[in-house]
Structure formats: structure tokens, C-alpha cells
Subunit: 203 residues, 2 copies
């Protein structure tokens, strides 16, 4: 499915380099890949981080399942093959933003380790920050803001991660956020601290 089909193409060198754009922005680009169960807080934390970055004058973007699913990936469903293609496309788009020196926050369940690792592989050293938003099924099921766990338990939704489909937690994520015990603001602060402590802000 992902073999190189097109021939007769050559890679263009862009006139403006990644490094030049990073200089303009005052920070490097990177993907901050939030992964975790439905309702674990991925999107909310990503948006809180995004807002803090915006207030600090940084350039960031949030890609999340709900928005991507209505646009780029609206022709994909939830089969294993479509889930893999979903994550592959998101990884490629996040790479484009990252190469453009944006701090690129992605908030997708992305339950399979192999799919996340494939995105890591297309990125350079330090450009893929895997963030496990760690909340138990019990915690998420208790929140259940969209009533999805209820529907999944009732069998109305098939292939539901954590109920009828597996979630493969990251083995060596760059960051783990304890969403069972901590609130959004505290967790968003931990992400900002990570970026500060690892040299992502250059100005």
C-alpha cells in the first residue's frame, strides 16, 4: 500500500532551510505525539499546551482525530488497515509542519506501537516526542464525555480501543503524563518544561 508508485520524480531542495525557519520562529520544529485511550485527555492537554505556546509567541499547531477525520482522512474507517493508513498520513502531515519549524501536537489514540514507530522512523533525532497520556480504562470510562464507552460496552461500537480492541502502551516514551491523578494545567506545564529542558526553544 505504501510502496513508491510514482516514478520520474526528484526531490526539490527548498530554498529556505529548516534551520532558517527555526531561526525565524525562535524554536525548532518537532512532533509532540500524544497517545492514549479515548477520553484520556489527549486533545484537551494538546490544546492547553498549544495555547501556552501561542501566548509565548511560539508557532504550533494541533492535529487531532476529530478534525483530521473530517478532512484529510474522511475516506478512512476504523479497520486495522485504515487505522494504519490514518496514522501514516497524520505522521507525514505532522512531518511537513515540523520541517516548517512548527511545534506540531498530534492527539490520536494511535493504539498500535508499530504505527507510531513508523512515524518515529521518518523523523530525525529529537524530532519525535512520544507522550503517553496515561489514564486507565476505568478512569476514561468514568469520564466518557461522548458516551462512547457506554456504546462500546453495549456492542454498538465495534473495534473500540480498550474495550474490544487492544491499546499498546509506548515502551520508551519521551514523556508520560499521569492523567489518572493530575489535572490538565499541571500536565500541560510538564510538556512545556520538557521542551524548555531539552533545548527546543532557541530564542
Amino acid at each position: 500500500m505504501t510502496e513508491q508508485k510514482a516514478t520520474n520524480i526528484t526531490r526539490h531542495e527548498h530554498n529556505v532551510s529548516k534551520e532558517e525557519r527555526a531561526k525565524l520562529n525562535g524554536h525548532k520544529g518537532a512532533i509532540l505525539w500524544f497517545t492514549g485511550l479515548s477520553a484520556c485527555g489527549k486533545s484537551t492537554i494538546a490544546n492547553a499546551v498549544d495555547h501556552k505556546l501561542y501566548l509565548a509567541g511560539k508557532h504550533s499547531v494541533v492535529l487531532d482525530g476529530d478534525n483530521i477525520r473530517m478532512g484529510l482522512n474522511k475516506n478512512l474507517g476504523f479497520s486495522a488497515e485504515d487505522r494504519a493508513e490514518n496514522i501514516r498520513r497524520i505522521g507525514e502531515v505532522a512531518k511537513l509542519f515540523s520541517q516548517n519549524a512548527s511545534l506540531t501536537l498530534t492527539a490520536f489514540i494511535s493504539p498500535y506501537r508499530a504505527d507510531r514507530d513508523k512515524v518515529r522512523e521518518i523523523m530525525g533525532q529529537g524530532e519525535f516526542i512520544e507522550i503517553h497520556v496515561d489514564a486507565s480504562v476505568e478512569t476514561c470510562e468514568q469520564r466518557d464525555p461522548k458516551g462512547l464507552y457506554k456504546k462500546a460496552r453495549a456492542g454498538e461500537i465495534k473495534n473500540f480501543t480498550g474495550i474490544s480492541d487492544p491499546y499498546e502502551a509506548p515502551e520508551k516514551p519521551e514523556l508520560v503524563l499521569d492523567s489518572n491523578r493530575k489535572g490538565i494545567e499541571e500536565l500541560a506545564g510538564e510538556v512545556i518544561s520538557y521542551l524548555q529542558n531539552h533545548g527546543y526553544f532557541t530564542a
Copy 2:
């Protein structure tokens, strides 16, 4: 192919609005959609515009066929169906950049009017600037930097726009660049002037 497959999703409101990001950047986001024959100068002009924007401290990005084909769209070929999906995905990605207040330059042959119009339809008023890089087949064939026209004439490349596949020129493009007679710098300047004269720069 592009029907909405996923159910149980709702659109998230991002905390940072398009308008707030535009304020940070000092300009609105928009797609500058360059269209024209192979070797008409799309990519070169787009990169020249991008470089001028960078030097002026603006936030821009170039999406071009060669780079997109090796990443996001590497599982697409050159059939009519794949070409349509190619342009659809590029349009959605360009929309994401544009919504993030980037001046988003796309450089694709994009030969079919219907495909380009579909991108226009997902964008707001003034957010889709169609730029016809107008060079005749003769001009492009004379340049032929990659020897593609030669191969197409020899029948080694099928579905080659302008030779064995049609090119549908835009009927009401926002801008026409005369690439038969003018050079890269002059044409890039015309694009910058368009942005200036139409209020895209707010600071």
C-alpha cells in the same frame, strides 16, 4: 471514495483561533495554488515567493509534487482516480496550514478544473488564490529540465499532461503569470504585489 466513513466523531474547537494566529504572524493564512504544465516554473516561482516571504519575516510553506509524492501521497500513482485523490489530500493539508495562518504555496500540475475547484470549495472567501503559471507546451518542451517531454513523446511515460493527457486551464484564476515571456524574479514579485494589494499582510 471521499464519503464520510467515520462516525461517532465531533469537531473540536481549537483554543487558539485562526484570527489569533494571524495576529501573531502579521498576516492571514491562504492557499496560493500554482497550476500549470510540467516545467512551466511552478515550483521555482513558488520557492522564490517563499524566500521573499521568509526574508520579510512572514510564515509560509511550499508543498510541491515531488516532496508530497515521496511522503503523504507515495501510495498514489497517476491514474485519474489517484490524481484526484492526490489533489484532494494536498488541498486538505494546505487548508490545515492555511488555518494555522501560513501562506501556503502549492506547486502541482493539477490539470483538472474539477479537482482544483473542490479545493476552492473547502476554503473560505479570499483563502484560495489560484495562480495560473502560463507557459505553452512548446515553451515547456524546450526547457524540459528532466527530459520528461522527450520520454512522453517517445511513449515511455503514459498520461503525460499536455502530451497524452489534457490540461484544463483555470477560467477565472486570481492571477495569471506569463511564464512564456517573463523571468522567475519578476513573476515572484507579481505574486508578492498581489498579496500586498489584497490585504493579506496585516502588519
